[in-house]
Symmetry: C2
Subunit: 392 residues, 2 copies
Amino acid sequence: MQNFTYYAPTKVLFGRGVENDVGSALKEFSPKKVLIHYGGGSAKRSGLLGKITDSLDAAGIAWVELGGVEPNPKVQFVRETIELCKKENVDFILAVGGGSVIDSAKSAALSIGTGADPWDILTKKVEPTAALPIGVVLTIAAAGSEMSSSHVLSDLSIGMKRGLSSDLIRPKIAFMNPELTYTVSRYQTACGIVDIMMHTLERYFGSRKENPLTDRIAEGLLQTVIENGPAALAHPDDFEARGALMWASSLSHNDLTGCGGAHKGMPVHQLEHGVSGLFDNVSHGAGLAILFPAWASYMCGQDVMRFCQAAVRIWNVPMDYEHPERTARRGIEVMKDFFRSLGMPVSLREVGIGPESFDALAEAITYGYTRQIPSFVPMGRDEILDILRLAE
Amino acid sequence: MQNFTYYAPTKVLFGRGVENDVGSALKEFSPKKVLIHYGGGSAKRSGLLGKITDSLDAAGIAWVELGGVEPNPKVQFVRETIELCKKENVDFILAVGGGSVIDSAKSAALSIGTGADPWDILTKKVEPTAALPIGVVLTIAAAGSEMSSSHVLSDLSIGMKRGLSSDLIRPKIAFMNPELTYTVSRYQTACGIVDIMMHTLERYFGSRKENPLTDRIAEGLLQTVIENGPAALAHPDDFEARGALMWASSLSHNDLTGCGGAHKGMPVHQLEHGVSGLFDNVSHGAGLAILFPAWASYMCGQDVMRFCQAAVRIWNVPMDYEHPERTARRGIEVMKDFFRSLGMPVSLREVGIGPESFDALAEAITYGYTRQIPSFVPMGRDEILDILRLAE
């Protein structure tokens, strides 16, 4: 067990109808004007935005809205958002959506608070010092950004995706009604399931020292997602399954499943950001479903018993005491089967990426060969190319 | 899954040496003067208080100290604490100890903030409105008060023990070094193990509706305590075992293991407060070890499959599909065996309480027959007497 700091101050209002409590709950923060930030038009068409604005109006809280955040959100749009916030004297940002919208809101809030360009903050040229307070009405169970300290943005003009963590951007409050996720498509639900699992699995495989409580919590969360993910795909309006996924999305990424681990920076997320940074058509969840099994196959021999524990406790693979490596590898195969059963790709070729792109990917992932990514063994150009070939 | 609010804003600094960071970490709260509140002299003799005051001095934070909090802390002493705080203009209370010290600190902080007598707040004559901020340096893994919203005090002059919850008294920050618990006695360690388990088990049996993620987290936490509790008793300086218990104590009582459940007020804790309220020699943990199995035996028939799930998933009892009730009851027996293996009493007679006291206990538990305690079936005089007989 390693020393850790745990700080997850987001107040969560969870369950049916909580979107109607936005106004009364936001009074606590005494906002002068709230920016309602969202993605496509579905939040408006579904009536959700109307419920939220009614609730703000009833509480006497002024607001302004800005939709249009895209998947794999872009820094250029964050700059437009910042302009609007300044013009309108916004002092609280309410993200209505999933990870993309929340991450955009975080970037704008951090830029305004710090007084710096968002990309300068993401690329660590400027140290963030303050942020506007952020709230979330969650509509997709996936990224876990509603309780996390992290955010990720893309700059398409240079084909780069960058992430940064700061306690300054942990949302103050999150409203989570599982019913709001009933209309999430089958594909996006599956991507979300993978993303949720990865936030916990990446932390899980960061723990190489004894860490029994966090291990058990992580395993329990993963079992829950494995049981409830297919149920949500089969019955999109299954409240219990959607609810389990939604709460799992938050607990997967609020650091709970990493406490005491030796977790260093989520290696497969780092690989994936290279892929969806270069190939905008690849969803983050799909990229992870492709890359995690390849990464695991590559690293498995470095800590066979850890991969055995995962195989047995998460995937119910019987332990082969004479050949532990078979158990470890069987766990990875069962995981791939599970991703396939969700309709997720498990190879790069399924998303149209061939070996001719591997060099460009390795270059993007390593920021032009200027860094190695920490993992069981550090990943530089050669290791990344090997993993991409395993994912071919 | 029921609607819930989750709010656990305590910042946790966990691991070796964190007690030396008290001063630098408390600067965030800009305290003018800190009360260092503690129990017996061991915190001083061990050198812990010296480390804390050195750290505060180095950070330029003024402080005053007050030791002497007793187990099952008394409201009379809280009143003395309040006087000192007012005289010294204390604006931050740092509890150094376990549940008794933290609960005393919470009561004083709430009284000063609200401007009311602590017992008037505990007995709900006065609604609390504010509290001084509270920090904790934890030295016993048990009560979970370091992240919880609740506190419990006794008024010996009337033989009463009362508890109250309020988000106002959630500690702002907690310093948790498992090494500080190495010197906790075998008996108190065992009491702590039971208390930790009960905070999760009572919530677990409050969930009668589907609640898969919270169930899995609760089961994982309990398994961890069952594995690491005996290890800590066998080797008091086993860092990993002590660390698992310490983190489990916090997560058991910060509401995580109750999210989405139908949890209503911890029935066995209510029974136990009657017992240790009347019999000051009974430790809270010991009282729980006696009463929980009796309560479970009494309630088991009300939801056999829930008790089966606990038996199988927590206690590794094989499921008897033809006779589920046998599995449910076997789980309760295995739990009793576990408590016995810790050296805990599992009957009232072991702590010197005979049937002649049962009427007085039932009266105390029901506040003079003025209330019933919610559970699978509401517990009034008759039900409580039946349960006490099962615990005889």
